[in-house]
Symmetry: C2
Subunit: 239 residues, 2 copies
């Protein structure tokens, strides 16, 4: 009897964690929609405005999917999103791009590391939930759009690389700070992450491997943008 | 022979006018998307953010339809939109809402009068073009969303009515100024409007009737918002 109720409690904790994850992702997608459409309004050409608008609309579609799933779990979507409004708004307020290029790097590097993190959590979920998370995290064309534009800007004006590389560092630092805040405030979500570690034989090693994978993927994006060379040159200098 | 080539020229003029109209509408829808998503980011609740986001996405869908039709006419969508970027941007720069309520009134009153005007032009078009214009002008839920919110705000704070009524006047004034500018700059579009008048037996009377209809519909929207009473009281005072 006590074992059974223990199993139920663990099950409930995981469900609360899944609901937290969906609420977080739903608000993240809604904000991504606002941010991309805001960036689109600043795009230099009509064709770029339209292309970014299309990506924004795709993010809104993801938001709608998540909202439906939350409602399907008999939860109130607004309530599920509410705990994540302050940390996500704080992240975006602290990383407001000062120009078009910073916006592009944020859309690719910032959203990229967030998506990798969510995907890592998704591995723990039931197949239906995992499929939903992978669907809403599918790239909506960011990489293809951002990479050639940033590379062209650096080619035209090489010092841009340094500015954008520092900007990317700040994005990652702010993202980690807010992720910490969320993990500290939201026990169900933190439990989901720890249960994943436990299942794989010890939380430390597993979380460590997850961070190693996130870092690798981030480095690949920095290389794609042409920002990794600047990072390496900096490291040589300070050695 | 000369009659035939005359007919061809008239046909070409109408086609150029239709292309102008599609270009104007396409850019108007793209801007409506940016504006609504910008307003949505400022909405007081998550549910309202989502509702306005949905309307914005619907406007983007209209933009995509128009862009496809322009491409189908073997024209370059960006080129077709370009002549209307400056006047529409000027209108929006001169009527940037200073708060949420002004944004709501702009979305309903401003877009309403613009839509009535485009619908009036659409009556002249071939059935396929007319159907497209009517489709992209279909109300995406503005009225239902805006009217109860503005009425509730006025009920809570009656002096708001005066401020919003003056705001609505300014919107109409700025819209007419930019419409004049467009008509003066774009001969094909102006020709479309005049050909309509000529077909109905004299441009003056027909354009006059069109403006009377636009004014009636505008008055109905002001009444729906609860702003017409304030207008009437003002007129009594100044009599």
């Amino acid at each position: 009897m006590s074992e059974l109720s223990g199993a139920n409690t663990a099950q409930e904790a995981v469900s609360a964690g899944v609901l937290d994850l969906f609420g977080l992702l739903a608000y993240a997608e809604l904000v991504a929609f606002f941010r991309l459409s805001g960036d689109a309004a600043l795009a230099p050409s009509l064709a770029e405005k339209a292309a970014l608008g299309e990506m924004a609309v795709a993010e809104f579609g993801h938001f709608v999917l998540l909202r439906e799933r939350i409602a399907g779990l008999n939860a109130e979507p607004d309530q599920a999103m509410l705990p994540f409004v302050a940390p996500l708004d704080a992240f975006h307020a602290r990383t407001a791009p000062s120009d078009w290029l910073e916006g592009l790097v944020k859309a690719y590097v910032g959203d990229g590391i967030a998506a990798d993190f969510y995907r890592a959590i998704a591995e723990l979920l039931d197949p239906q939930s995992r499929a939903l998370v992978l669907e809403v995290l599918a790239d909506t064309g960011h990489a293809e759009f951002v990479v050639p534009r940033v590379r062209a800007a650096i080619e035209q004006d090489p010092p841009t690389a340094g500015r954008l590389a520092l900007w990317a560092r700040r994005l990652v630092g702010e993202a980690l700070a807010q992720a910490h805040r969320v993990a500290a405030d939201r026990a169900p979500l933190a439990a989901l992450l720890v249960s994943r570690g436990t299942a794989a034989g010890g939380p430390q090693g597993d979380i460590g491997r997850m961070f190693a994978r996130l870092t690798d993927a981030h480095d690949q994006r920095m290389t794609a943008l042409g920002l990794a060379d600047w990072e390496r040159a900096q490291q040589e200098e300070t050695r």
